[in-house]
């Protein structure tokens, strides 16, 4: 069996859908964050697979930038979660509806 681009793309799609299921089903804000990281990781995997397929280093550069964005996102997001916990004493997203109405 020869591993080709399609195998990596299917794996990546599967991981992305696991991440979507995590975001949609869990209540803990930190685990939702972790699921978002899973989705980013799945997309990174397909970028790297495409870079290998076409023999172009551009895909790897994009993964580099997506790592930068993920780091920034995690720093700000976790700060928001800490502030939320200070105000509401919970990070259950069902109890957080400050901005709903």
């Amino acid at each position: 069996m020869i591993i080709s681009l399609n195998h990596y793309l299917v794996l990546s799609a599967f991981l992305f859908c696991i991440g979507v299921a995590g975001v949609l089903t869990r209540k803990n804000a930190i685990i939702i964050f972790a699921s978002i990281e899973l989705m980013l990781n799945a997309v990174n995997l397909s970028f790297i697979a495409f870079a290998r397929h076409w023999g172009d280093a551009g895909g790897q550069i994009f993964v580099f930038f997506s790592l930068v964005v993920a780091a920034a996102e995690v720093a700000v997001g976790l700060a928001i979660i800490v502030v939320l916990f200070r105000h509401k004493e919970t990070i259950n997203i069902d109890d957080v509806n400050l901005m709903r109405w």
Binding site: H7, L15, A34, S35, E73, L78
Partner: protein, 166 residues
């Protein structure tokens, strides 16, 4: 040989990703996320991207996940009631499954000619620090500078948010 490694790694990645969203304890699920990121880094090495694999381990599995664990331990959480409407959870899983179906259909219809391995044999030194750095600092120099601004904004934002009085 490559196929065996691919199958083993993908089983580890899928298992640990499932555990991330199934585990009740947030610390356990973050530890499984670290495992998933590590095995993805191994897969990057298989795809001739050793530099990105090293970055993945240092930045993702190292720094970001430590930040996660730090926040979890800092917050000293009580057990979160994961109950509530079961229908909503089933709906969430169904939506994710539908998304998988849509992606599979798209993947079938675009028909990437990849049945016999990768399209091009990668050039000499592909994915090394030298090669990636050369591309990064010539073609992608402006995005690189903008990324540094993004990180600066994120640092300032995190510091401002974490102040005692908002």
């Amino acid at each position: 040989m490559e196929a065996i490694f691919f199958i083993i790694l993908s089983i580890i990645i899928i298992f640990s990703s499932m555990m991330v969203i199934l585990k009740k304890n947030p610390i356990a699920s973050v530890l499984f996320l670290i495992l998933a990121l590590f095995s993805t880094a191994a897969m990057y090495v298989m795809l001739m991207a050793p530099f990105i694999a090293a970055i993945q381990i240092i930045v993702y599995a190292g720094a970001i996940m430590v930040l996660f664990l730090f926040v979890i331990m800092l917050l000293n959480l009580k057990k979160i009631n994961e109950g509530g409407a079961v229908t909503l959870k089933i709906l969430g899983v169904i939506v994710a499954g539908l998304m998988m179906v849509v992606t599979a259909v798209v993947l079938r219809s675009v028909a990437i000619p990849a049945d016999s391995g990768f399209l091009r044999s990668s050039p000499e030194g592909f994915g090394t620090v030298e090669n990636v750095g050369m591309t990064l600092f010539t073609t992608y120099l402006l995005p690189f500078e903008i990324a540094s601004f993004l990180l600066l904004a994120a640092i300032i934002g995190a510091v401002v948010l974490a102040k005692k009085k908002l």
